[in-house]
């Protein structure tokens, strides 16, 4: 089972990399950018076949390692 974890910085946490991206895009002439935030994606290949159990397992992985919940949120997509 393929599961995608998207990790993003919590709102309110300064994101210097996002700011740099925003600035660079403006520098390239892209108008109308109201913000850019950078995150990361972790794709997991799991032996588990039950989507609910897969989701629960990945949530635990996020809490224990994949995300730093002091500054990050995570989002789990079971891709099938």
């Amino acid at each position: 089972m393929q599961v995608r974890v998207t990790i993003t910085l919590k709102a309110g946490v300064l994101d210097p990399q996002g700011k740099a991206i925003e600035g660079a895009l403006r520098g390239l002439g892209f108008a109308g950018i109201d913000g850019a935030r950078q995150g990361k994606i972790v794709d997991l290949a799991l032996a588990e076949t039950d989507p609910a159990r897969a989701r629960a397992a990945v949530a635990e992985m996020c809490e224990k390692l994949l995300a730093n919940t002091v500054i990050e949120n995570y989002d789990i997509d079971v891709l099938g």
């Binding site: 946490v13 300064l14 210097p16 990399q17 740099a20 390692l65 994949l66 730093n68 002091v70 500054i71």
Partner: protein
Amino acid sequence: MRSAVVLFPGSNRDHDMVKALYDVTGFRPTVVWHQDATLPDVDLIVLPGGFSYGDYLRCGAIAARSPAMLDVARKAKAGVRVLGVCNGFQILTEAGLLPGALMRNAHLRFVCKEVKLEVTNDDTDFTRAYRKGQVIRCPVAHHDGNYFADPETLARLEGDGRVAFRYAEGTNPNGSINDIAGILNEAGNVLGMMPHPENLIEALHGGLDGRGLFESVVRTIAA
């Protein structure tokens, strides 16, 4: 004073720390491999600088989940003094032994330079050889030293005198909130700091300002 330095794959200031501890305390620290589930009984455990696990995922994140860290957490709870420098500080926050997080430097670049540190609290196990308000020199070398904590945590740290060191004289190299360079846990036996006192302990380094930190621990243990 007996001490132990925990070695992770990717640690690279372990050697500097071992030398500094030996130089200041006269005792050679035990080096502990991160896979060892039990650390020896010592007065001070040090998590050295470096790039444990290549800083992959997040700085310190993977090292914080190693077997040795479980024992570090147990011993910290029991009152053993723990010092985390640079990557060691990152590991301590990732392991939940210190609050907050260390984010990418505000200018996004690695920075290696000398900064000024104000000793914010001299009534701690790690700072009693300094004077409160004293400004010392100390080098930094990191990519992710930008300390962040939510407002409540920050208020608690400041209110309880748990900010041990602050970047002084406009030398904040990374955008840390409140110029925070080093913090203590609630019990005061765990210190995390980004600057490298172990790199300013002999004439060759051009100064001795870093010795005070190690001398403080020696003094605390002796008392």
